[in-house]
Subunit: 432 residues, 2 copies
């Protein structure tokens, strides 16, 4: 279980801001560069680099191993003892985020370097880790709440900062400044774009025009490393157009119904199916889709406009434990299907109290889907769309509304409820 | 020559903002994830991943290899042809910043994985690269100027935002927002701290108090990847105290004298020696050091308070080409000495027109140096400091003044001259 090493940006000493591995953070709570955690059969111990007096000039004084031991409540020994500590043990491990540490781990455990996928030998450790990290205790929830406070400020600042004629990057800067000012980091690369139809758009160079919707998917990470993950979509000029209003309402009503369905025992895939159902109903009402809703869902017509999953686990990673593949998101015995409407679903578990998930339906006009040549080869799908009606919604390229939802003992709590999403609240926040 | 791959933050899909390798950027100008550049004996060619239609949904449409070829003015072939392209060639290479790409390179070239140090086999390519990148052409200087525009805005914003009672992170956020808003990135991790005596302090959690100096070392990177690197130091409450004024003046006058010495033919180590000389004179005038200046420099007494080098090369990396070790910073036949006053000097070349360097003297009271037990064992050094006089300057923990200087045909140009550094200008900027 490695904390991991800093990742160089353009050379070794110019590194990205250090972020310790989530498994290590979960177990030991401190971002100790280069450290490893080890269960040696009797106890958890941490093997950490000893403080380097020469680095004090550059980075300030470092805690001693004894002080670290006090802080973490376990034995801490010099990193040099790693080889002898693992000698003769059949040590399971989990991949570190950075390749340098992966290679180190492989080397000292005498195992081949496996990257990106989990070695079956490590499945028991992975599954044990999942069972711990799936359920958030009070301290974890407190961390998530503290991240949300910053995220809320960021979205409010973004709404205030948006003006036609500015670059997307201007709004992004206003949002991220709220998070940085609180001495927190971003849980993931911000999406702040008038091209919300590019789902993970990380470009911010477009000018915002009068008729645009701006989609902002921005979340802070707490001091302890817990993520928040929130998307709001607002109109560049401060008021939604009629067409924007119509489709925003379809997404918003869908999102509310989905949140209402979050409770212990609910199967997340059913919530995703409900999303497709509600989005289908909405798009039929609006006149963009034609036919029976069940057929539209089944044939994938709804997924043309909502091509991603309804949400994912949330915790120390924004897609929690995605480094373990679907072992975290999918319950034992369940696996992803290749079906268009389900293949991007990252989560299919029965919800339990203490789990945190995102609920994030959306509507997108993705050229790569709608103008893809495959569409022409699927006349049935093509016939389900009222293309002339769709053309009236040219000022809606992408809408997503995303909240963080904690499963409680009997129901749920929306951790991000205070961030405006009703259209009137959004419009008011933009004038604030 | 690799562009390199994105570095994962906590899992593969949650990566740090991508930054292509500087050597690749220098030669090909585009940040092409996963691409390699190859001189095959006849021509430069780029081997690039082909656009993935499945990724268009998430990341938008990608240029074709033909379009890339047009943009870069060289042949571009699919990455899959790499193995056959290098077969039979004794290919020299340079290390990529990220370990994943280093491992890839080693594997397809059939060479051991060398990380952190240069393989002597690659010295000729390294030296050729250095000779190209040392001298900036007009396009490169234009990039540096564009970075400076954002850096200037950042420092102005930082001066305006500083108030006692706020966290350092508040000022950092205001500074970085100016850079982010212009859709640019940071050339390095910002230092914004009231503990300037920790040279690479990347913590931002301290509260700013009335008597503090705030040291801000923040620089933007241009759209093409060129760095700016600027440090200013200003008083928390908007006006320098008398003690701060005294020592700020020592550093500022020194910095001006050093800048005046920048011209073609000047040896950078002599500029560093001049820095020690001038700082020594200043600290004797102030009464902190006692004795003959030559002795104070020679014995290392000046370096107690100015323990780092006067500056470094600047270009596509903030410490330009530091990935090549001292082959870039040190002229052939020169090497670093272990001497306390020279060991941290990153640059010892005779300056040439088109080189860009930083000039960044400073004054610091570093506990790791002044309270280090070695001091007690060096009574000669200890006797050179007037400790009671030094104690009067408790409100000066760290001052650094850093500008980016371009060597011109006959003299120099300070690229960052518009950023306030005279005390009256700094005080005025803080009230702006």
């Amino acid at each position: 279980m490695a904390a991991g090493l800093p990742s160089p940006r353009n050379y070794l000493a110019n590194a990205y801001p250090y972020r310790a591995g989530s498994h290590f953070l979960y177990l030991f709570g401190l971002p100790l560069q280069g450290a490893f955690g080890l269960w040696n059969g009797d106890e958890w111990m941490v093997l950490a680099p000893e403080p380097d007096p020469a680095s004090a000039l550059w980075h300030g004084p470092e805690p001693t191993l004894f002080e670290l031991s006090q802080a973490m409540g376990c034995r801490v020994v010099p990193l040099g003892e790693l080889a002898t500590s693992v000698a003769g043990l059949a040590v399971q491990t989990l991949p570190a985020a950075d390749f340098r540490t992966c290679a180190q781990q492989a080397s000292f455990l005498g195992r081949p370097l496996v990257s990106g996928t989990l070695d079956p030998f490590d499945y028991p450790l992975a599954d044990a880790t999942v069972s711990l990290r799936l359920i958030h205790d009070d301290a974890a929830v407190e961390q998530m709440r503290s991240a949300v406070v910053a995220t809320q400020a960021a979205h409010a600042a973004g709404m205030r900062a948006t003006k036609p004629g500015l670059k997307e990057s201007h709004v992004r800067a206003a949002m991220e400044a709220e998070i940085t000012a609180r001495d927190l980091t971003l849980a993931y690369g911000s999406i702040v774009t008038v091209h919300g139809e590019v789902l993970h758009n990380e470009l911010h160079h477009h000018l915002i025009t009068e008729s645009d919707l701006l989609l902002a998917d921005v979340g802070a990470e707490s001091a302890g490393g817990f993520a928040s993950d929130v998307t709001r979509t607002w109109p560049a000029k401060g008021t939604f157009s009629d067409t924007q209003r119509t489709l925003y309402n379809v997404v918003l009503q869908t999102q509310k119904d989905l949140i209402a369905a979050v409770k212990p025992g609910a199967r997340y895939r059913e919530i995703h199916m409900l999303a497709l159902q509600r989005m289908g109903e909405g798009l039929v009402d609006v006149g963009i889709l034609m036919g029976k809703v069940d057929d539209l869902v089944e044939e994938g017509a709804v997924s043309l406009f909502f091509p991603h999953g309804t949400g994912h686990l949330l915790g120390l990673d924004v897609h929690d434990m995605e480094d373990l593949g679907d072992r975290a998101g999918y319950a034992p015995g369940r696996q992803r299907t290749k079906n268009f409407k389900l293949r991007t679903l990252r989560l299919d578990r029965d919800l339990l109290p203490g789990m945190a998930v995102t609920i994030e339906p959306g509507f997108y006009q993705v050229p790569a889907i709608l103008q893809h040549e495959d569409m022409g080869q699927d006349p049935k799908l093509k016939a389900m769309v009222n293309w002339s009606r769709l053309a009236e919604f040219a000022d809606v390229r992408g809408i997503r509304i995303e909240d963080d939802v904690l499963v409680t003992a009997t129901s749920h709590e929306v951790l991000t409820a205070a961030i405006p999403k009703e259209m009137s609240d959004v419009e008011a926040a933009m004038c604030a």
